[in-house]
């Protein structure tokens, strides 16, 4: 079975992606590993894909998205990094792979993902919910159960499909929706690529919701998951092998939520400490902090979220300024400075 695993990210997440791809390569040396990047290398950073722990890079600009610059401008970094997952998985269905697996760059494997392939014998689409056990503590309900009602039942840091049948039909549908509606707009009912997938069990057959606690362990489900490290060297979650962890929000917020729900379950802190060491070792100082090539106009002025939202809401502006990143007279930036006020 030919398996393709991909992750979508920008250069500021290259360090995390390196840790993910190294873990994928360690556990699945025969899988094709693809980095889907919506970015351009920062000046002074010599990006050599051949020396990275993935097999190839696909640039978002090469996905054939119509009016790419205009489309890109409508999204912030998170929106676009999630939006391109749709076109890629749709195109990958015609690329020769039997199975395509998406993993967020801040996930890492701790054991092989072989059971996924077994499940894909009977199912075409695999999803991991944020929660597989309900909380009954007030704060945990607020932080986790209610939060996921806003952002989506399934965590789209992971999805796996067969490239035929319902898997292919899902990929086409997701592609179509994400090209037009992949925004962080919770009041409208949208949360990037993720909220859409609440529809998946209703819209598609052969969907498996993975209720094994070893998959997609993260701060949002630690309240109901307990880690243990056995004398045999295995790491388990509620007694099941730990397959992959989702290190959401590496930093103070992630620390607070992890501590709140891990309590004295110390292997959680061992794993976090390990991950921080790996990311630090994989960090290239030549990549500026928070680098994103598409975060600024051509003259270097930062693009504000409100400017992106305005552009995406106004068809006339999109028609008038097909390259909204441009600087100088007669550009969208010029219009913002003189007309928008």
């Amino acid at each position: 079975m030919k398996v393709l695993a991909y992750s979508s990210f920008t250069f500021s997440y290259l360090n995390r992606a390196r840790v993910l791809f190294e873990s994928l390569r360690r556990h699945h040396p025969d899988w094709e590993l693809v980095a889907l990047m919506t970015d351009e290398p920062p000046p002074g950073f010599d990006f050599d894909p051949a020396s990275e722990p993935f097999d190839r890079v696909v640039w978002a600009s090469d996905l054939g998205i119509p009016n790419f610059k205009s489309w890109l401008f409508k999204h912030d970094i998170i929106e676009v990094s999630t939006a391109v997952k749709g076109p890629f998985i749709h195109q990958a269905c015609a690329g020769g792979a039997d199975v395509v697996i998406y993993l967020d760059p801040d996930t890492t494997l701790f054991a092989p993902l072989d059971p996924l392939l077994d499940w894909l014998g009977d199912h075409d689409i695999l999803l991991t919910p944020h929660l597989i056990d309900p909380n009954d503590d007030h704060m945990a309900i607020l932080d986790n159960d209610i939060s996921t009602l806003r952002t989506g039942i399934y965590n789209l840091g992971f999805v796996a499909i067969r490239t035929t049948g319902e898997g292919a039909r899902f990929a086409k549908w997701w592609n179509d929706r994400l090209l037009s509606y992949c925004y962080d707009d919770i009041p409208t009912g949208l949360f990037v690529d993720q909220r859409w997938c609440d529809h998946v069990p209703a819209l598609f057959d052969k969907v498996k919701v993975i209720r094994d606690p070893g998959y997609n362990v993260a701060s949002w489900n630690l309240s109901r998951r307990t880690l243990a490290v056995g004398k045999d060297g295995a790491i388990t979650v509620n007694g099941y092998p730990l397959r992959f962890w989702h290190f959401t929000k590496l930093g103070p917020l992630g620390d607070v939520m992890t501590k709140r729900y891990a309590g004295d379950n110390f292997p959680v802190y061992e794993i976090w400490a390990w991950y921080k060491r790996q990311v630090a070792a994989a960090t290239d100082p030549a990549i500026p902090d928070r680098w994103w090539a598409y975060g600024r106009f051509a003259d270097g002025e930062p693009i504000e979220k409100a400017q992106r939202v305005l552009y995406r809401q106004r068809g006339d502006l999109q028609a008038a300024y097909p390259d909204p990143f441009a600087s100088g007279r007669g550009t969208f930036q010029d219009w913002l400075a003189h007309e928008a006020a």
Partner: protein, 537 residues
């Protein structure tokens, strides 16, 4: 200031005072003055009333009112309390507790160990930096130093370890001190080789070596290992008694050690299992310094997340080189230690012996104290996590004031702010039985000794048993559990929860001296390697 404004200001001050007084009444009930002063020595030196300080400033500075409430965590968890700007402890006592809010997140002592963890590379860098200033002696200086020997190095015992046994404290150092004392009695020479500063791991091939040379307890200087080998090669054995023992290979390389031993005309010698450095660079087999790992397969997930994981292979390979290059008899201070080592990927060996560091000879029954005094529960030694201090501390805090129990700490350093009576006891070469005598005199009923790592041998458990104490330990404590089981000297409990349950129910009182037929013993230290080497050729 106009009269009206002054009146308003006075009213405001009066209101603030009333509010503070109301807070004071609420907080005082559960405020721990001793705790506050112990953990805030800067407040203690000012002489300020600790409760006043907490109410006026302390909570705003993140200081906790007792050991069970965390100001910082409560504010992190409760943005509404932050927005209200009220004293978080007062909020908790007035309403937060009834609403089910969490007073503190107990992340446990292991969280604190992990937060302070020093990576092996940083430990090595620190050792290398500390070595930089060490002056390196010349071959002539070494030859001159060796000339001051007792026998012209004819009768010579060479020991290898990770540090200077005279100036550092610990079980390995005590063993080498015993060996050194035995060699004085025999009139033989003792050459000790170790890195000039304690070294956390083996040196790998290609790393520059520096070894401190001690001859009969006197430092001759620090020399490259090759210089030491050359100097020994110039003094042939010529019919004397020569021997060697590797107590620890940390700070040495296998090849240099083999070269030194061969230069002394030796091939057969002893390798001590004081720890598990021959299995992993984490020599006490504590994964990330927090939990016994039991030396799982090197490619396991556990080794994958351990700070010692990447260092395990090279360290085990170096020991394999040593075992292949020399004819070593493995000496284990306990059968359980040897059994575990053999089952855990140890290098192939030709011979092994079990030789305990101490033996116990019955002295007679321990006197029975009155049955109605509180159970005396003790901890012995440095208050450190890997010896089980956090569990003892937790019990002492939870059962402070419980008439069933009295908590004692015997050691060199007290831990402040705890409801524990401390007795200073120092074990020295002149007073080797000081701890046993102190435990006996204090009529300690139960020793809580719950090391995190599987101790290869424990002087503490021997001292406690000799003093007639019962010992409670955990399942991962190695020879501590083995001794407790073999001597029927207490309990080996599966989990800390079981320990807590025994205190909650009072079942632990079954271990009281008044209810056990406990014995007293005389403890005799062995001669270590010298017991295994014939005194006369």
């Amino acid at each position: 200031m106009s009269g009206a404004i002054l009146t308003l200001a006075r009213r405001g001050t009066a209101w603030a005072r009333r509010r503070l007084n109301a807070e004071r009444r609420v907080v005082a009930a559960e405020f721990d003055r001793n705790y506050y002063l112990a953990v805030n020595p800067d407040v203690a030196v000012t002489g300020a009333d600790p409760l006043d300080h907490f109410l006026a400033h302390g909570w705003r500075e993140g200081r906790d009112p007792n050991g069970r409430f965390s100001v910082v965590e409560y504010l992190n968890d409760n943005p509404d309390v932050v927005a209200a700007g009220v004293n978080p402890f007062a909020h908790y006592l007035r309403s937060g507790r009834a609403e089910g809010r969490t007073p503190a997140h107990d992340m446990g002592f292991r969280y604190r160990i992990l937060a302070r963890q020093i990576r092996p590379q940083d430990q090595l860098d620190a050792a290398a930096r500390a070595t930089l200033g060490v002056k390196i002696g010349t071959p002539a200086q070494l030859s001159a130093g060796l000339a001051s020997s007792r026998t012209g190095l004819r009768d010579l015992h060479i020991t290898f370890s990770h540090d200077d046994y005279r100036t550092n404290v610990g079980g390995v150092q005590l063993c080498i001190q015993r060996e050194a004392a035995g060699l004085v009695e025999r009139g033989h020479d003792h050459l000790h080789l170790c890195p000039p500063v304690a070294w956390p791991m083996l040196r790998l091939a290609g790393e520059e070596g520096r070894l401190l040379v001690l001859l009969n307890g006197r430092p001759l200087g620090t020399f490259p290992p090759a210089v030491i080998a050359e100097a020994l090669a110039r003094v042939p054995a010529s019919g004397g008694v020569r021997s060697f023992a590797v107590h620890s290979l940390l700070g040495h390389t296998a090849d240099e050690t083999i070269a030194i031993v061969r230069a002394a005309g030796l091939g057969a010698g002893f390798f001590w299992l004081h720890d598990y450095a021959s299995l992993c660079a984490g020599y006490n087999l504590l994964r990330n310094n927090v939990e016994d790992c039991a030396a799982p397969p090197p490619n396991s997930a556990a080794c994958g997340i351990c700070i010692y994981g990447p260092w395990r292979g090279p360290q085990a390979a170096a020991h394999a080189t040593l075992f292949a290059g020399l004819d070593l008899t493995v000496v284990s201070p306990a059968a359980r230690t040897l059994d575990f080592w053999r089952a855990s990927g140890a290098p192939p060996i030709s011979r092994a012996v079990v030789h305990p560091h101490a033996t116990l000879a019955p002295r007679g029954p321990a006197p029975r104290p009155s049955a109605d005094r509180p159970l005396r529960v003790a901890y012995v030694g440095w208050p450190v996590a890997h010896k089980g201090w956090p569990l003892f501390q937790q019990l002492a805090l939870r059962y402070a004031g419980d008439p069933r129990y009295a908590f004692h700490h015997l050691g060199a350093r007290a831990e402040p702010g705890l409801p524990v009576s401390f007795r200073e006891v120092r074990v020295t070469a002149e007073q080797p039985a000081a701890m046993q005598a102190a435990l006996e005199a204090a009529e300690i009923d139960v020793l809580i000794f719950w090391p995190l790592w599987r101790e290869t041998f424990s002087f503490t458990v021997y001292e406690a048993i000799a003093a007639g104490c019962a010992v409670i330990t955990g399942p991962d404590s190695g020879n501590v559990a083995a001794m407790v089981e073999a001597q029927d000297a207490g309990w080996v409990l599966e989990t800390p929860d079981a320990l807590e349950a025994a205190f909650a129910s009072g079942e632990v009182a079954k271990l009281a001296r008044a209810r056990r037929a406990s014995m007293l013993y005389d403890m005799t230290l062995s001669g270590m390697t010298l017991d295994l080497i014939p005194a006369i050729p």
